[in-house]
Structure formats: structure tokens, C-alpha cells
């Protein structure tokens, strides 16, 4: 246990105390105590920047379940450090924001901060653990915490719907991911990511390699809301705004990105990896930005925008993985995509976090998030307006904000990708730049919608529930910090490039680094000269402006898209149909009739036993050990068969009962013939008693429902009964033919008088050699007797009537 382990566990430990703080220190907002945790963690983690910059990796070991190779190992490299700084940094700002956003009196703050801390710890665990199983545990904890936070206002139906949807989608993805991890373990025999990466070049040919890749990607895509699994994210907007800002824009949805980045050293260089990630990313980018324009709710716009930006990062990671094919010199030309992904990851966390907080302020101060009711807030909320402009323009990719830089790098990445000559790239050359450009136009449009529909235009005070005014200072501080980061990174991007981006890129693409160049040379400038990327941005701005002005003329295009083809419709119908189908299947086979269940049981009995007799070629017969058959046994057998047939074909129940008696008595005679006097005695008495009981039951059948019909004939029953008889006969014959060793009865013959002092061997065995069985059979009879007595005497149902 080191301090780094405590960093991961600290939020969990602190979460235990939150309810007590809430209960006993009611006059202070609980958030203030919680605020300390991320601040401390952030300031502790900052000190790792220096060693990680110099290429050092911190690795701390804590065995958890060493016998199965699971240990809680914390590993800090560039990628993990970047994410943990994001988690703790934005976490601190979100906690600060939530102090002013959530009311001390009205809200259940204790549960809110417990969930939030649980999420923070889980997320830190995801990004810092080196062990796949530990990573999975924390991964599911983030899903759980997200579920709880989305349904924070659990009395609203939409919150519960959104929580359930996100839970179902992310947990199914997480489960697929676990299967992928286990496959990786089967390939490499280790759960440690470090060791798997070390084995990476040797495992590509393994049969489980591709399934492992696909399953892990399923986990990453569901978590990171990639097309078509993005549908849970817009519904997760029912959560409180701090949660949306923290989980659903800055951290949790980037867990999938983290996973892809982390797995890149293992899987990159494969054509499948390249194509799946790039295509899913670019489609998500396009679809998210296209769908965002039609939304009328501010948080929905931001949700689809998050989907779209995540698609962009994912696409960049996919394109960047192509760099592995080339060495350092040429590879650096393509690895710019990975640098852009890391850079945009940071940028997106800053501007999207601030935009969510801005939307939360608007919601808080006006009572609505519907852009059709909002407008003209610019003069009333000048600071919020400024923040929104910075965030939205950065999102749209305008200079001088940081979004411009990452968008330029994105264009560079897709343009480079079109020059690739691997993976059959040349036939699809223009797909990536064109789709990326169109998506950027839509991004520009919804960013403008976000700002101008909310803050300019007609002020409509009659539609608002409260009188709008500027937010309190405390609520403004976190978005101000984030927006100033947007500007600082925008103007001085190289502050980050050496300290954060280069180590992170190095951990995504470790194979590209040789001994002489231990880090990537990342230089981010505003000005590259007049190149294709700049013209593309100018095109985006030009076309986007025109389309934004003429939005009402072409927005009808969204109505053309049929609602029935929407993915949400598929999801909802899928759930309904799944429920209906399973109900139908249950109804078909769970009929409630015992005869049907007996048919299943016997059919499987035949299938399994005859099947195994057939497949293992196990049927043998051997009449060497059989005794001679006398005429007496033949006659008895015939009588027995006649009795059995009498049971089956009896026209009256009484005949069947008597026939059963005949069978039982003949059996007793068989015992006589085969020299078993004790059995014969018992059998006679038992048979008499049971025939008497049958007669008793017969006599008590209700008068009205007396059916003296023959047994109705059914072909299935005939087949199954014949099958069971045949199976048992065949097995008995085979078992008789295979004598593996001598029976142990010789011992009893010798020992029953000498050791136990009895001449009746059967009785000696029953009470001496194997007395335990007898004891328990006595117990069985006792239970049966008590049961009969209880059934007859205890009549709770009729007690009221009596």
C-alpha cells in the first residue's frame, strides 16, 4: 500500500464520512468538505508531471488476489496522469459548482456527494490501474455511480428511464469487455497491461486475438457513446447539471477513449483495429453533429455535441494507429493524429465542462433550457454570455481558442490519412476528409445556435418562470476557470505539449520511440501558412454561417427522417419485444401441466442417455455371466407383463389398481424364486398397504368428475414411454455385460457372523455394516407419517369458514 493507492481509495474512504458530515454539520453545505478531496488529490498528482516528462513511470504493487494473478497495481504514465489530472481537476471545479447549484435545504446532498465521490474514485481506479480485472471492477463502479447520479431525482420518470437505459447499455458493453480481458489473459497468461504490451508482437496470430479486440472495443464504444450506442447519453441529461458536466462530458464518457488509447500498443497495426475505430469514430462524429442541430433543449445539444466530439477523438486514435506501420521518421507524419486526439481530449474537457456549467446557470436563473423560450439574455447575464461565447467558439473550432488548434490538427490527421497506402486506404481516400469537413460545418451551426438563440434575439420574459439575472459569483468561478484555460491553452498551447501531451502520446505509441528519441516533438502553432487545413476551416466558417442564417429554410430536412428509423425507437421496441418474446417463450414451454414437464424430462433422459450410448459406442452385450432361465421364471414374467398391460389398458380405475397389485405380488414371488425372503416379506406387506391406499384414493374421487374413460391415446406419450423402456433396457444389458471387478459381497458372507454375530446377512448389512442408511430411511418414513398427519389435520384454508 503506497500513497498512490490511497489516491485511488481516498474518495471511497471519504465517502463513508459524507453522511455523518451531512447529518451533524447541517449549517455548512456538505460540498465544502467534499471539495477538499479533489483539490488535495490534484495537487498531489501535479508533482508527477516532472518525472513523467522525463520518461519515468511510477509503478506500485499491492497484491489483492495473487493466486489468480489479480493485484491492485497502480501505474502512472503519461496517459494515466493526463486522465487523473482531468478527473481530479474538473472534479474539484464541479464540486465547487455543485455547492452553488444544489440547494442545501431541498436536496439530498449526502447521497449526491457519496455517489460523486464513488464515481471519482472509480474513475481514478480505471485510469491508474495496471491490472485488467481491477480495471474492470472500477469500470463497473463508474457505470453504477453514473446510474445512481442520473437517477438522482428518482421521483421523475424520465430520470429513471435514462438511468436504466445507460445502465443497460454500458453494463452490457462492460461485460463484453470483461470477456475480451479474459481472452487476453488466455492468450498472454497475465492480467497486467504492461506485460501484455511487452508480448504484443507475438500474439497477433492467436485465434482469440480478434475476438478479444472486438469485445474490448464493444466495451469502449458503449461507454464512450459511439454510434450506434450513443443513445444513452442524451437521455442521461436528466441528471443534475454538475453531473452532466463531470460524467457525461469530461470524464466517464472518456473512459472508452482511455481504453482504446491504452490498448493501442496491443492492437494497433491491425487493419481491423484501424478500420473499426476510424469508421465508427467518423460516423459518430457526423451523426452526433447532424443530430445536435435539431435539438431544442440546451443540454441535448451539448449531449449530441459530446457524442460528436468523442467520435472525433476516437477517429483520430484510429487514424493514428496507422503510424505503427511506419518507423519513427515517417510514422511521426501519421502520429500527428494521436497528438491531436490527446490535445482535443484536453480541450474538449475544458470547453464542454464550461458550456455545461453555463447551461446549468441559464437553467438555474431562468427556469428553462428550451431555446424556443430563451433569447436576449446577453445584457442580463453578461459574464455567462462571455463564457458561452468562449466555449462555443472553441467548440466550433474558431481562432483564437484552443478548439481551433485541435480542429486544424484533426484536419491534418484526416488529410494525412488520405495519403496512406496501407489497409486498402487508397480506394477510400476522400471519405475521411469529406465527412470530417461536413461534420465540422454542422458543429459550427449548433455552436452558433447554442450562443445566439440563447443570448441574442428577442427577450421573452413572459415565457420564463423566474426573472433572469446574473448568477452568483461562486457559480461563475468554475466556468471562468475552465474558460480561461480554453484561452490559455489557445494562446500558449506549448505549455501543455511538453508536459502532458508528449508523455501521453508516448504511452499510446510506445513502439515508435527509439533509444535516441525518447519523446515526440510536439509543436502546436496557430499559423502554419496557407495550407489545406486553413482553407478547410475558412470553408467551414463560410458555409456554416450561411447555413446558420438560413436555418429555418432547410431545417425541414430533419422531418424527412422517419421517426421509426431512429435508434431510440429501435432500442425501445427492442426492449418491449424482448420482454414480449421472453414472455411468449415462457408461456409456450411453462404450460403448468405436469404431464408436459414429464414429457420434457423423459425426452431429455432418452436424448442424453441414448445419445451418449450411440456417440460413445457404448452398447455391449455379453451373455456369459447370465444364469439359466427356468420355466417358472418365464411364467412369472408373463404374469407380470399381463399385469402391467392390464394397468395400461384398463377401462376402469379399479382394474388398474388390482393389476398393480398383481404386479406387486408377482414381484414378491420373484423375490421368493431368487432367494430373498426378507424382501419378499416386506414387498408383500407394502404392496397390500399401498393397494389399500390406492383403493382409498379411488373411493374419495369427487362424485361429479368421475371419469371412467380409458387412458386417452397420444403418440408422443407412446414414443416417449417406449423410448424410456428401451433406454433402460439397453443400459441394463450393457451394464451387465461390463463387469469391471468382482463384487464385494464375499466380504459380507465371511464377516457377517464372525464380526457382527448375525446369520441373517441382509439384516446384518441393514443394521450393522450399513446402519446409517437404515437410520435415514427411518427418518424418511417418520417424515412421511408426520406429513400425512399434517395434511389431514391442518386445514388453514378452511379455518375461517369453520
Amino acid at each position: 500500500m503506497s500513497i498512490l493507492h490511497l489516491v485511488v481509495l481516498a474518495p471511497f474512504i471519504f465517502a463513508i464520512f459524507v453522511p455523518f458530515l451531512h447529518k451533524y454539520l447541517r449549517h455548512i453545505h456538505t460540498g465544502w468538505f467534499v471539495f477538499i478531496v479533489p483539490v488535495l488529490l490534484f495537487s498531489y498528482l501535479v508533482q508527477f508531471i516532472q518525472p513523467v516528462m522525463n520518461g519515468q513511470h511510477i509503478h506500485k504493487v499491492l497484491p489483492w488476489m495473487p493466486s489468480i494473478g489479480v493485484s491492485f497495481n497502480v501505474y502512472v504514465d503519461g496517459l494515466g496522469l493526463l486522465f487523473s489530472l482531468l478527473i481530479t481537476g474538473i472534479g474539484a471545479l464541479v464540486v465547487l459548482y455543485s455547492i452553488y447549484y444544489l440547494s442545501k435545504e431541498k436536496e439530498a446532498l449526502n447521497s449526491f456527494y457519496v455517489y460523486l465521490l464513488m464515481f471519482m474514485g472509480a474513475m481514478l481506479g480505471v485510469v491508474l490501474s495496471d491490472n485488467l480485472i481491477v480495471l474492470y471492477v472500477f469500470w463497473e463502479l463508474t457505470s453504477l455511480a453514473s446510474f445512481l447520479l442520473i437517477a438522482y431525482w428518482y421521483h421523475r420518470e424520465k430520470s429513471r428511464y435514462g438511468a436504466q437505459k445507460s445502465m443497460l447499455i454500458t453494463v452490457s458493453g462492460g461485460f463484453a469487455m470483461l470477456a475480451g480481458f479474459v481472452s487476453l489473459y488466455l492468450i498472454t497468461d497475465t492480467f497486467s497491461i504492461r506485460e501484455i504490451i511487452a508480448q504484443a508482437p507475438d500474439i497477433t496470430g492467436h485465434a482469440l486475438f480478434l475476438p478479444a479486440m472486438l469485445l474490448i472495443l464493444a466495451g469502449a464504444f458503449t461507454k464512450s457513446a459511439q454510434f450506434p450506442f450513443h443513445i444513452w447519453l442524451p437521455d442521461a441529461m436528466e441528471a443534475p447539471t454538475p453531473v452532466s458536466a463531470y460524467l457525461h462530458s469530461a470524464t466517464m464518457v472518456k473512459a472508452g477513449i482511455y481504453l482504446v488509447a491504452r490498448m493501442t500498443p496491443i492492437f494497433s497495426g491491425q487493419a481491423e483495429w484501424f478500420w473499426i475505430i476510424s469508421l465508427f469514430g467518423i460516423v459518430t462524429l457526423f451523426w452526433g453533429s447532424f443530430s445536435a442541430v435539431k435539438q431544442t433543449d440546451l443540454k441535448s445539444i451539448l449531449a449530441f455535441s459530446t457524442v460528436s466530439q468523442l467520435g472525433m477523438i476516437m477517429c483520430l486514435l484510429g487514424l493514428g494507429s496507422a503510424a505503427v506501420h511506419f518507423g519513427y521518421e515517417e510514422g511521426s507524419f501519421y502520429s500527428v493524429a494521436v497528438v491531436a486526439a490527446v490535445f482535443h481530449l484536453i480541450n474538449h474537457a475544458t470547453f464542454k465542462g464550461s458550456l455545461f456549467m453555463v447551461v446549468g446557470i441559464v437553467d438555474h436563473e431562468t427556469g428553462t433550457r428550451d431555446i424556443r423560450k430563451l433569447g436576449g439574455l446577453m445584457t442580463l447575464m453578461p459574464i455567462t454570455f462571455t463564457l458561452a461565447v468562449i466555449g462555443a467558439f472553441s467548440m466550433a473550432g474558431l481562432p483564437p481558442f484552443n478548439g481551433f488548434l485541435s480542429k486544424e490538427m484533426f484536419f491534418t490527421g484526416v488529410l494525412n490519412a488520405s495519403t496512406l497506402d496501407i489497409f486498402n486506404m487508397e480506394t477510400w481516400t476522400y471519405l475521411f476528409p469529406v465527412l470530417a469537413w461536413i461534420a465540422s460545418v454542422f458543429t459550427f451551426i449548433y455552436s452558433m445556435v447554442l450562443v445566439f438563440r440563447t443570448f441574442t434575439g428577442q427577450f421573452q420574459p413572459e415565457k420564463l418562470e423566474t426573472k433572469p439575472h446574473e448568477a452568483p459569483l461562486g457559480m461563475l468561478i468554475p466556468p471562468v476557470i475552465l474558460a480561461s484555460l480554453v484561452l490559455i491553452i489557445g494562446f500558449f498551447p506549448n505549455l501543455l505539449s511538453k508536459s502532458i501531451i508528449e508523455p501521453a502520446t508516448a504511452s499510446i505509441l510506445p513502439t515508435l520511440l527509439g533509444p535516441e528519441n525518447s519523446y515526440f516533438k510536439v509543436d502546436i502553432y496557430f499559423w502554419h501558412g496557407f495550407n489545406a487545413e486553413l482553407f478547410m476551416t475558412m470553408g467551414v466558417i463560410g458555409v456554416g454561417t450561411l447555413m446558420f442564417i438560413g436555418l429555418h429554410r432547410w431545417s425541414g430536412v430533419y422531418d424527412l427522417f422517419p421517426k421509426r428509423l431512429a435508434l431510440n425507437h429501435f432500442y425501445d421496441q427492442g426492449l418491449v419485444q424482448l420482454e414480449r418474446l421472453s414472455e411468449k417463450v415462457t408461456r409456450i414451454h411453462m404450460t403448468g401441466f405436469i404431464r408436459d414437464y414429464l414429457v420434457y424430462i423423459f425426452a431429455f433422459f432418452i436424448l442424453l442417455l441414448l445419445g451418449s450410448l450411440y456417440t460413445f459406442n457404448a452398447f455391449t452385450y455379453d451373455f456369459e455371466h447370465t444364469a439359466d432361465i427356468g420355466i417358472f421364471e418365464v411364467i412369472l414374467s408373463l404374469v407380470m407383463v399381463a399385469g402391467a398391460l392390464g394397468v395400461v389398458f384398463a377401462r376402469k380405475r379399479i382394474t388398474a389398481i388390482i393389476s398393480i397389485g398383481v404386479v406387486g405380488y408377482v414381484l414378491a414371488l420373484f423375490f421368493v424364486v431368487f432367494r430373498a425372503p426378507d424382501l419378499a416379506l416386506t414387498q408383500l406387506v407394502v404392496e397390500t398397504v399401498s393397494v389399500a391406499l390406492f383403493l382409498l384414493c379411488f373411493y374419495h374421487l369427487p362424485v361429479l368428475k368421475v371419469e371412467k374413460n380409458t387412458v386417452p391415446f397420444k403418440l408422443t406419450n407412446l414414443i416417449i414411454s417406449v423410448g424410456v423402456g428401451l433406454t433402460v433396457t439397453l443400459i441394463a444389458l450393457s451394464a451387465n455385460a461390463t463387469r469391471l471387478f468382482e463384487p464385494i459381497s464375499e466380504y459380507f458372507i465371511e464377516a457377517s457372523y464372525k464380526e457382527a454375530g448375525g446369520k441373517n446377512m441382509v439384516n446384518v448389512i441393514l443394521v450393522d455394516f450399513r446402519g446409517f442408511d437404515t437410520l435415514l430411511e427411518i427418518l424418511v418414513l417418520g417424515i412421511a407419517a408426520l406429513g400425512v398427519y399434517t395434511l389431514v389435520k391442518l386445514r388453514l384454508a378452511r379455518r375461517d369458514e369453520a
Binding site: I631, F632, I635, L636, V639, A642, G643, G646, T655, I658, S659, G661, V662, Y665, A668, L669, V672, V673, R675, P677, A680, L681, L684, V685, T688, A692, L695, L696, Y699
Partner: protein, 93 residues
């Protein structure tokens, strides 16, 4: 010779059981069946006796006694059932 006689006896008894069984199934009235069952019981007693001689063992003598008792009890209870409709009458109180 002795063994042949024993076998003959066993076979004859078996045949008589078969014939009585026919009466059990066919027997138009309930008393017919009960009487036939009683006959079967007695025949089985004889058969067990013959078999004991055949196997030259005394182990089955209890069986003979038991069948005698059971046949008696069975016939009595059937008769009472036919006569009164119940086997064990409840106490009148």
C-alpha cells in the same frame, strides 16, 4: 422324479393363478374379483411352499404365514367395503 413332480406342481399352481387372474379382470361383479384374489393368495401360499421344497430352504416359511394373514385381512376388508362402503368405521359420538 421328485424334481419333476415339484416342477409339475409349480406349473399347475401357476396355471391356476393365471386362470384366477382372468377371473379378476373379467369377473362381472365385485365379489367375483375378491374371491378370485383370495384364491390367488392361497395359490401363492402353495406355490411358495413348493418353491421352498424345490430350493430346500426354510427361509420362506414366514412368507407363507404372512400371505395367509394378508389374504385373510384383504378379503375381510374388501367384503366390508362392499357391504358397508367403508373399511374403518368412525366412532360415533
Amino acid at each position: 422324479m421328485f424334481e419333476l413332480l415339484i416342477k409339475m406342481a409349480a406349473i399347475i399352481l401357476s396355471v391356476s393363478i393365471l386362470i384366477s387372474t382372468y377371473r379378476v379382470f373379467k369377473g362381472p361383479t365385485m365379489p367375483d374379483r375378491v374371491i378370485a384374489l383370495d384364491i390367488i393368495g392361497i395359490n401363492i401360499i402353495a406355490l411358495v411352499g413348493v418353491v421352498s421344497v424345490w430350493l430346500s430352504t426354510q427361509a420362506f416359511l414366514e412368507v407363507i404365514l404372512l400371505i395367509g394373514i394378508l389374504a385373510f385381512i384383504g378379503t375381510i376388508s374388501f367384503s366390508k367395503f362392499i357391504e358397508r362402503g367403508v373399511v374403518i368405521e368412525r366412532k360415533r359420538d
